[in-house]
Symmetry: C2
Subunit: 271 residues, 2 copies
Amino acid sequence: MQTEQDFLSTYRLEDFERPSVTADIAAFMIRSEVRGSYRQDSGNKLSLLLVKRGCHPFKDHWALPGGFLQPGETIEECALREVQEETNVLPVSLMPVAVFSEPGRDPRGWIISHAFASVISEESVKQAGGDDAADAQWFDVSFDRRENGSYLLTLQYGDITLNAILTEEETRFGKTSFRIKESGGLAFDHARIIATALTALRSDAKNFETIFDFLPETFTLTALQKVQETIMNITVLPANFRRKIADYVVETDEYTQGAGHRPARLYRRKN
Amino acid sequence: MQTEQDFLSTYRLEDFERPSVTADIAAFMIRSEVRGSYRQDSGNKLSLLLVKRGCHPFKDHWALPGGFLQPGETIEECALREVQEETNVLPVSLMPVAVFSEPGRDPRGWIISHAFASVISEESVKQAGGDDAADAQWFDVSFDRRENGSYLLTLQYGDITLNAILTEEETRFGKTSFRIKESGGLAFDHARIIATALTALRSDAKNFETIFDFLPETFTLTALQKVQETIMNITVLPANFRRKIADYVVETDEYTQGAGHRPARLYRRKN
DNA sequence: CAAATAGTGTCTCTAAGACAATATCAC
DNA sequence: GTGATATTGTCTTAGAGACACTATTTG
């Protein structure tokens, strides 16, 4: 009789066809804008990391950072590695979004993509030195439902504007899936991945799951509120936000200074 | 200059190492039990489909149904195909649970598993004729936190009882991950996959996402309530359940008959 | 003081949970 | 009528949203 040892020593996985496996990451950051007088609040913009492809296919098109899974690493490690290679920053959070495996989604062949959303704080990007590679840039994101029911995804960096149009396919198990009507010049099916990731990010921002990762260790409640508002594209009343967030944060003894108005207490994430 | 055509014609994905890709499915069904007098309500049990492995590795151990992704199909199609091969039933719903890609999780080599939870109605299993394969069986499931904080997963079918013990690792983005302390005789890391899938199922049952799929087209509100209670291992007051579920169902003009008590109106899922 | 943001108190409304009461069938 | 489940009504309470008000800083 054949033992498990015997079996494994003769077993050849290579006898079966295998796909290539990638991780693609929608890395989000919130960029604070300077405007008005020094006393006035600066606005915030949600931005997304895109990489200009240097080789075929989709050469010179903008794409999500990503790459092939390598032996010995998990798909999450692969995703983190790819973001770090582009930004020099290790993201604090990594949210699985979906797996895209439709045949034909990649002209190179049989490639299935594991999509993640990750969050990076502006502080850590600045510390890392930023744009050492001009082919990786942070694009301002806007993503909204239009009157006719379809969604417009706009990505903007300097003179470059990418407009993708998507339709909502279905929402099950808390996840919405989209279909691309116009890719807006984005590579592969990345418009779809971005839309899915952004929807997941928004949904998690509702229960404060992802919002802390956009900020440094200590932060003001107003800053935290603006993060949530920026991601979800809503406004909430400060009093109500403070009441709801109270369970998730811990007071520190520090305050902001020199802002031309009442100083704000700094908080820290609970746990 | 090289065109995209040129590039693709010389590009060889095969030059890079690739993993094997599988889908593993936790297929759930709710089995109604007969007990007491004919007038009395029958209880319900949540059950899970397991397959006895016929070959190495883990020969003769129980495992989740699953198999390798084949060219030309999506990972979801692969999952549905595998369930159908075992049960002759096409599941109504398929929920992505997680991707397991730790090196070493499968003794055969580099294999990453895409875990799904699927739901099958008892009615459709009975129609399909049931046990044509004695190596595929529905096990009663219980899964609960113990006093010491770890979780006990019990799977039972006839004389066979599998007891796995897991610890909770982390909960982020609404998903809990587990670590296996004792596999209870389950193959591979399937105890972990089952725990993760069951947690996801419970979480979705809370917002009525998955509960309809356990029942036929038309159903009584009490039956629907019992499904939710069985999955989540809770009890709720009928009055409150009815108020919350009202938005998700539509009345029909039909009623149950001959039950020895007041007939119940049949409902249909809205949408 | 003016301008700006920080922070608190409280009213209202809705939704969830608890519980009591009524309805209808087979026997 | 009895025993069982079906179905409705309503009281209480917790939480979300709206809004008014007070506090503290720099110039």
